[in-house]
């Protein structure tokens, strides 16, 4: 060994525990910061509870009743389901602008297959669900294999699917009475039942189950961890042995399937099959995801947060309406919440705080 002087000896007297993983966080703010870092759904939960409390105080039992609170659930069910799909895609650092269009065309396929071709309604529903999944898978293939940006792929798919939807349906609505008479299964998700004063629909139950199942899958299965890893750093995930392409395609396909279920729920909610419904689902789902604390940069956030995000929007909408405020106030406040949520996300990502 050539004359390497003992330059490291100078550091010998310094503290030795280089790799100690101590957790020495001090102060309320940094403790809170740490809690947010590990539990990203905490912020939307706090906002949700606070907004329910505020509207509860302002409106009393008109708002703070099982009926009103479950009404919120009914009003957010479609957006909630679509937002769950959007969450999966955004967790991979992507975005899906075609969610609303997939939901609508799936509902149109279910309706038209039943009424135009006389296919048994169960089969028609299965076809609708399959169709949504296939569009999602195509999005995933374009993103993962062709390496096109998700924003562009789904922007294009949105236009294609929406146009195909109008062309195929000839812009015709299938009337609610006809569905109720001939194929009531299409309206299944809208079927209501009450517990005490609370009113639930199957669509609401589906949303609740979907959130629980996705939360489990994301947290407790290898696929779920891969979704986060791919969104966090795709190269690192690939080198660690994750099949990034397969994960991405499966995420977009699953998102397509969930949107198709949203399309089914949409028939239940509005009663009819209408090719012009669900126009705002894209923006509303992204809003719920962002307010729910999922990072648009991928890899961070939880599906439960998205659910809270959707509920926050629902609480504001109903609460302000009951207060008699102009509907524009709702949009204004939601806009503020979106910007605040992204600001909080940026703050959470500063791990060195």
């Amino acid at each position: 060994m050539s004359g390497s002087d003992d330059y490291e000896a100078a550091a010998a007297t310094a503290a030795g525990e280089v790799a100690a993983f101590d957790d020495s966080r001090k102060g309320v703010v940094s403790r809170f910061h740490h809690a947010l870092h590990t539990t990203p759904a905490l912020v939307p939960l706090i906002v949700l509870l606070a907004s329910i409390a505020i509207f509860g105080v302002l409106l009393g039992s008109r708002f703070f009743s099982p009926f009103a609170l479950t009404l919120i659930l009914q009003q957010v069910q479609i957006v909630g389901i679509v937002a769950a799909a959007q969450s999966l895609v955004i967790l991979t650092a992507g975005i899906d602008l075609s969610v609303g269009a997939i939901a609508v065309i799936s509902s149109v396929v279910m309706g038209q297959f039943t009424f135009r071709y006389g296919i048994p309604v169960e089969v028609a529903i299965a076809c609708g669900l399959t169709f949504g999944t296939l569009i999602g898978a195509l999005n995933g293939w374009l993103v993962a294999v062709m390496k096109l940006p998700p924003f562009i792929v789904t922007l294009g798919m949105w236009q294609i699917v929406l146009a195909a939807n109008y062309l195929y349906s000839a812009n015709e609505t299938i009337r609610s009475q006809d569905i109720a008479e001939q194929a009531p299964l299409l309206q299944l998700m809208g079927a209501k039942f009450s517990l005490g004063g609370a009113v639930f629909t199957f669509g609401v139950i589906f949303l609740l189950l979907l959130v629980l199942v996705l939360a489990y899958v994301l947290k407790h299965t290898a696929w779920g961890r891969h979704v986060y890893a791919v969104g966090d750093d795709p190269e690192a995930a690939e080198l660690s042995g994750v099949d990034v392409k397969k994960t991405l395609i499966s995420v977009y396909a699953l998102a397509g399937l969930i949107c198709a279920f949203a399309g089914w729920a949409l028939i239940g909610r509005i009663g009819s099959v209408s090719p012009t419904s669900g126009q705002l689902l894209n923006i509303e789902s992204i809003t719920a995801v962002v307010i729910g604390g999922i990072s648009l940069f991928g890899g961070r956030g939880s599906i439960v947060g998205t659910f809270f995000g959707a509920l926050i929007v629902g609480v504001f909408t109903l609460g302000l309406r009951l207060l008699g405020a102009d509907a524009q106030w709702t949009f204004l406040l939601i806009g503020l919440l979106i910007i605040a949520a992204v600001a909080v996300d940026q703050w959470i990502r500063k791990v060195a705080a």
């Binding site: 060994m1 390497s4 961890r225 890893a229 190269e235 042995g241």
Partner: protein, 257 residues
């Protein structure tokens, strides 16, 4: 003694650039082999060719005397070759345990694992903790801490621990001390010794001559896309090595060309 990992006549071209020019490579069992070379000499291409990250245009790679043709790092990994990349290949937002088991998760036994696909977190955390303790990365209070909250040295430690935990035959370390301070580098060098003492051979790619000369048993000098020579660090000085790899001096027995 037969080399555990052997490359013969490896060629890799990128367009008009020849990154590997009929390159040979030998890693003996149980040794630490350093690979040094100037920037652009083709060190990375060589390592990628033996670890499956690139597919060589010509030549053969043999692992334990059997020819292998890896088409991805994952295949190499399955064969027992673990690589610690300079970028570490870790997901910053995920925990230490998640990262260590990324791509090779352990599921719970029985119904919950098979049907519900539930991960066995407790078992993975236990193994992760054991592996880190084994390598002297002790006092881990929270194995569920996100990797991004660790220091550079700690991250390197976790990456090396991951490789050591699963690399049954060969571990490749790409510039493990490049981004580290003095104390953290020391820790990583100790890790290398620890891994070596357990009989797993290591390929160390580094620009840091003091580190190379401290831990390497043999030094592979790479120049212009091929192996110029292999030197014993006990018989050569660091300035010799630098002179060889920059072409300022030609080692005995090698014809200048």
């Amino acid at each position: 003694m037969e080399p555990i990992l052997k490359g013969r006549g490896l060629v890799k071209r990128y367009g008009k650039v020849t990154a590997l020019d009929r390159c040979d490579f030998d890693l003996m069992p149980g040794e630490v082999l350093a690979v040094i070379g100037d920037n652009g000499a083709g060190k990375s291409s060589l390592i990628k060719a033996v670890s499956g990250a690139v597919i060589p245009d010509e030549g053969t790679v043999e692992l334990e005397g059997r020819e292998v043709r890896f088409t991805s790092p994952i295949e190499a990994r399955k064969a027992g070759i673990e690589t610690v990349y300079q970028t570490l290949a870790m997901s910053p937002a995920l925990s230490i345990a998640d990262n260590m088991f990324m791509g090779r998760e352990i599921r719970k036994p029985g119904f919950r694992g098979k049907i519900l696909r539930q991960l066995d977190r407790r078992k993975m955390e236990e193994i992760a903790r054991d592996k880190l303790t084994e390598l002297g990365l002790l006092t881990i209070q929270n194995i569920n801490q996100a990797v991004e909250t660790l220091s550079g040295g700690q991250r390197q430690g976790v990456a090396v621990a991951r490789a050591a935990a699963f690399g049954s035959k060969v571990i490749i370390l790409d510039e493990p001390t490049a981004a580290l301070g003095v104390k953290e580098s020391r820790k990583v060098l100790e890790l290398i010794q620890d891994v070596k003492s357990r009989g797993i051979p290591i390929i160390l790619i580094s620009h840091n001559m003091p580190h190379v000369f401290e831990v390497a048993d043999r030094v592979h000098v790479h120049r212009l896309g091929k192996r110029l020579c292999v030197i014993d660090p006990k018989d050569h000085s660091m300035s010799d090595a630098v002179a060889y790899m920059t072409g300022a001096k030609v080692p005995d027995g090698v014809h200048a060309d």
